[in-house]
Symmetry: C2
Subunit: 471 residues, 2 copies
């Protein structure tokens, strides 16, 4: 890249990045007739000011500015791009190396003009913005715009109009985005294969995590979210890695890479620690896999994502009825949320610059206008409730979990006393948590699994766990 | 541990942790006669609220509370410990698993009594505190204490007295701390060996970083700071990893592990990408190594750390005179800061819960009372200016760098026109940056290198790079 040594390399070549960004601005200008200023944010301190977490630019900024510039802003109006960025402080080169100058960055991203940050207040009049997740910068936003900034949970005025417009753009991925998203997916696939391969010799969850994240870091990517790598898959957002691995355990790994320009992937696989599913694990795994496959088959433009969720729930219920765990008619069981005893989350979510794309805007992205979260146990965690559109990227991630807090809840025991064969369920005690998650691009022809290089079938999984570690 | 599955395992057994913490409180009570309240902080958002960076508790909190409890506080007075922590919200178990209850945590850390957070305001009267690096929590601190909290860069009143007392405690490590610090050091050693072993087959800096951090994660530790893994060692805080590795390059890796309870290590090694130092690289490496070894030999109680720095500078200058790069008397050259053209940072810093220990307090920890930073080019970056005391842990990390911003600076060229043989220097163009860093414990007998399991000599380094990758 023109910027030389200080920006991550990428398949997005300069000309391409410039073109991609221009097209995004033009599409934005088709939707809003007011100026827009977006801030990138600043790095956050960990345990002392100079020891920061790795900087992550605001996703809205990244979408229009392309590069993870710290402490920068862009102004967008009528397809024009203005960059606000200070040149590196003198002396900074000693500690951080030669950083690109403002005009070099401006050229790379195709900015029409570039200014130091001090010029921003004079040029930000009447602009809309999105609050960044950094108090210090959020105060700057209010100072610069001379007004209060809409809180993310109560968007209003032109900030709300802007949020709606950005959602429309970011809901469907352009070629530049898809190139990045596919790179992230490919690296995540390699990470999962490395995790499976490392299992045979590992004695601790952390070992598997280290093998997986090591691959992601080795490709100069970062993790899009805190990895879940656990033999306690029933804890949905488990972020600890200290459990020993024991023969008979299933390991659930939900690990995804993010490219240097910020685009995410999100994959979950569940595999047996000793390389072989038990009969009960195999039985439940096949049920979850059927839900996964049927849900993916259902993905196409125009289909309501909620119906994909309900289909997966029904397939899961059918399988659990066949296994004698649930009792009754599958459709009735789903209607009664009995599936949610074992599958208490949604079938998936939007994926893009954020692993839950645009979730900073609450349900603005996930939920079509005038739709709200259901109160139903089996639907309330659904993060996406829209008809699918071409170039949307969503996850499909059904699961089966034995969550003590749900299954031992006396109200649930009472409510579902006839729907669940609790004695039969006890025979499946070695299945604490299974999830199978892929990333699915909505195309005119249906769903394209961007993570399909990682198999889901039992035979392949067992093979990857048992053999790869030896090669 | 009693807490079961939700806290990291550690060699600090419960009884020991309880005892260690009690002893720390008693030592604090010997120094201050007012109550103290310390907050742990909260996790910080990355790109959307639910996607957080891994939580890191405030180091001052960790020192007295032992465990990385999120959104907690402790009150210390006369050797007593009160814990303020809310029980997990109902429903949290679904997403995050069963978390320990307040009374279980209290038992583990030996709290005399424990309350929900809502009780804190009533019990925080007249307490001193240290501001945490989290705006939201800092506002809580002010609300709870009903006063403004001393800014970290302008400590005053009882907050300043507290800071001074904590510094006195944390300057010398107790057995519990040393146990953790040694664990961190051991894992960092393994990470560096893995990095060397991975070099032969790597084509990108990121590959080495992935191999090294993979080891740290595999041991269920985290990185104490953003790793530096670069063929551009002349960029002192390089945090990018995208350069290709080329035969003839030196790779500089500054990577350190942190234990689950927060204790840090900090190691740098520099090795040749192709497994063999060139003659010029070897010559400079030996000079840096001599400075490293002589500085470590000088470490003992009562010695001024600044003199260790000046000794290393002198040894470096001597070596560079011998190589014909510097011209003149080494002591005069150091007096003129000529060494700092190539070694522009300090010889090291305190190490403990923070990799620059207690640097949140500015120079309160690093600088003895009534001492201030020098304005001299060769001393202004020195982070520690105290006489060494038993059980202090410091880094010793001399280096040689060819920083374009320093060496091409016309003022430096003029000022040092006779001190540097610039033509001779050009022959060392393949030495962009070398640093050799170890962690050294001050004992009654002198310095004990806690990271000595990782060799520094050329033969061993070349062997680790050339051979280990094949085993």
């Amino acid at each position: 890249m023109l910027l030389g040594s200080n920006y991550p390399s990428s398949d997005l070549r300069d000309r391409t990045l410039e073109t991609i960004l221009r097209e995004r601005r033009i599409r934005l200008a088709e939707q809003v007739d007011f100026p827009v200023v977006l801030w990138s944010g600043r790095s956050k301190s960990r345990n002392f000011p100079a020891n920061t977490y790795p900087f992550r630019a605001s996703s809205h900024f990244l979408y229009f500015a392309g590069l993870p510039l710290e402490n920068a802003a862009v102004r967008l109006e009528s397809g024009k791009l203005e960059l606000f960025l200070d040149d590196p402080a003198s002396g900074a080169a000693l500690w951080h190396g030669e950083a690109p100058k403002r005009h070099e960055v401006a050229r790379t991203i195709g900015a029409d003009v570039a200014f130091p940050l001090s010029e921003l207040p004079a040029r930000a009049k009447d602009a809309a913005t999105i609050a960044v997740l950094n108090n210090e910068i959020r105060q700057q936003q209010a100072l610069v715009l001379e007004r209060s900034i809409s809180p993310l949970d109560a968007l209003n005025g032109i900030d709300r109009e802007l949020a709606r417009a950005i959602v429309q753009l970011r809901l469907s991925h352009d070629a530049g985005a898809l190139g990045e998203l596919r790179q992230a997916a490919a690296v995540s696939v390699e990470a999962h294969k490395a995790g499976m391969a490392a299992t045979k010799t590992a004695h601790l969850e952390a070992r598997i995590r280290g093998a997986m994240e090591g691959v992601i870091l080795s490709q100069n990517m970062t993790c899009a979210y805190n990895s879940i790598v656990t033999v306690h898959g029933e804890v949905l957002h488990n972020d600890r890695y200290h459990h020993p691995l024991q023969a008979g355990d299933l390991l659930l790994a939900d690990v995804g890479a993010e490219t240097p320009l910020g685009w995410a992937s999100d994959i979950t696989r569940t595999w047996p620690v000793n390389g072989q599913f038990s009969a009960t694990q195999r039985a439940i795994y096949e049920v979850v896999l059927a839900a996964h496959d049927r849900a993916i088959e259902a993905v196409k433009p125009g289909v309501e994502y909620r119906n994909v969720h309900l289909l997966a729930a029904k397939v899961l219920a059918e399988g659990l009825v066949d296994l004698g765990i649930l009792c009754g008619n599958p459709e009735d069981l789903v209607e009664a949320d009995a599936h949610a005893l074992f599958f208490p989350h949604g079938i998936g979510h939007l994926l893009g610059l954020d692993v839950h794309d645009m979730e900073d805007l609450g349900d603005y992205a996930g939920y079509e206008n005038n739709r709200a979260r259901s109160k139903r146990f089996g639907l309330c965690f659904l993060r996406l409730h829209r008809p699918l559109k071409p170039s949307m990227l969503v996850t499909i991630e059904p699961g089966f979990y034995q969550v003590p807090g749900i299954l031992n809840n006396p109200q649930n025991r009472e409510k579902y006393k006839d729907a669940v064969n609790w004695e039969r369920l006890e025979q499946f005690a070695d299945v604490r948590g299974i999830r199978i998650e892929d990333d699915v691009l909505v195309t005119e022809d249906g769903g394209e699994v961007t993570t399909s290089a990682l198999p889901t079938d039992i035979e392949s999984i067992e093979h990857l766990v048992s053999d790869s570690g030896r090669t």
